[in-house]
């Protein structure tokens, strides 16, 4: 899960210049602050889907999954562990 959190952190600090200087802690609130605006959230969603090869369904767009980098990492990890195991044809 640390690897997932690190990849999300890297994306955020590389994408949002203010975060590059101040950094962002894994438990820091992403929502309800002015850290990321609405366009930024959509960019973050697109990154998660591309980076971790999954689709975030509409019903998973809930604050509990997006409240911090760690919350996002937990969500991604749970999605990965619940994916059906790949089987040979």
């Amino acid at each position: 899960m640390t690897d997932i959190a690190d990849r999300i952190t890297r994306f955020l600090v590389e994408t949002y210049p203010p975060l590059r200087e101040r950094g962002i802690a894994p438990e820091e609130a992403l929502l309800g602050s002015d850290l990321i605006d609405s366009v930024g959230l959509v960019e973050l969603l697109a990154f998660l889907e591309q980076e971790f090869l999954l689709e975030v369904p509409d019903e998973d767009l809930v604050p509990v999954h997006f409240q911090s980098i760690n919350a996002l990492a937990r969500y991604i990890a749970s999605r990965q562990s619940s994916s059906p195991a790949e089987t040979s044809p």
């Binding site: 929502l31 309800g32 605006d37 609405s38 366009v39 959230l41 959509v42 969603l45 509409d58 767009l61 809930v62 604050p63 997006f66």
Partner: protein, 293 residues
């Protein structure tokens, strides 16, 4: 013996064209809707809202500033005219069939530069475009609103309906306090009246599910609705953060975009709910839902 709900709302259904989604009110229903609006106007007076009456049309330019045509193109009702240039009106008159007709071909029409808006508050932001607000500003307005929908239902979902809004612009604490005031005030009134309701998080009907504003509404709930009997949204509380302040360049003296929020009441939906609960005689409605004057 109590009157069944169907009979109580029969007057609404009688005046409804379900295909076009257009509702005609008559007799006591007109007075009841007027009474409900007077009640909401009184509530607006509690925060010294200034009342405005804006033109029913908004320019495409104004709504484009609000990114309306990306967010809600499917709802839009455009206003245009017979193309006047190059003898267009004469040509249109000559080409009319003798029999009554139901539509006018788009090639006869001028480009649409105005819209019949889908919410009353857009006119407020357009009116205050490029202004500086030194303090909190509260405005109230009632307006006919228009939303194209997949299907319609009398008193619940119409193409044309009436909306009263109370809009607050200013510093963030003032706007959040305004929204909290009305949330507390209205739910207290509904408890007093015994109208079955609950508050729920909500999202606007964005055309694109990944519209940034929709994603923000889902992840950081900024819109709440009062649901009557779990199904009918009769009022909404909307916190826009600095979206409209930014787009319409409404700023604080230090140059920052103002925050905004609004409380919206769908008049026909309130009428439908109150008819169902209390019938069509105002004197039988609870005092909490009747205006003082």
């Amino acid at each position: 013996m109590t009157t069944p709900p169907d009979e109580k709302t029969a007057l609404l259904v009688q005046g409804f064209d379900a295909q076009s989604g257009l509702l005609t009110l008559r007799g006591p229903l007109v007075s009841l809707r007027t009474s409900l609006d007077a009640l909401f106007r009184e509530w607006a007076g509690e925060v010294e809202a200034e009342e405005y009456a804006f033109p029913p049309l908004l320019s495409v330019r104004s709504l484009a500033l609000a990114e309306y045509f990306q967010a809600f193109p499917h709802l839009a009702t455009l206003a245009t005219r017979i193309e006047p240039g190059d003898g267009g009106v004469e040509r249109f008159v000559r080409s009319q069939p003798r029999d009554p007709f139901e539509e006018i071909a788009p090639e006869c029409l001028a480009a649409a530069r105005f819209v019949l808006p889908s919410a009353a508050c857009y006119a407020v932001y357009a009116h205050f475009q490029d202004t500086v607000l030194s303090d909190r500003l509260v405005v109230t307005v009632v307006a006919p609103c228009f939303r194209h929908e997949e299907s319609y239902s009398a008193g619940r979902r119409q193409w044309a309906f009436s909306m009263r809004e109370i809009v607050c612009l200013g510093p963030e604490p003032a706007v959040t306090a305004f929204l909290q005031h009305y949330r507390t005030r209205i739910t207290a009134k509904l408890h007093e009246a015994g109208l079955p309701h609950r508050i729920a998080e909500a999202t606007d009907p964005f055309f694109n599910k990944r519209d940034p504003r929709r994603v923000m509404q889902k992840l950081s709930p900024v819109k709440h609705e009062i649901l009557y009997r779990d199904t009918l949204a009769i009022a909404s509380f909307n916190f826009h953060r600095t979206f409209f302040g930014d787009r319409f360049r409404i700023r604080t003296p230090s140059g920052e975009p103002v925050y905004s929020g609004c409380v919206a009441f769908g008049l026909e939906r309130w009428l439908s709910a109150c008819l169902q609960e209390y019938g069509a005689r105002l004197e039988q409605w609870p005092a909490a839902l009747r205006p003082r004057i």
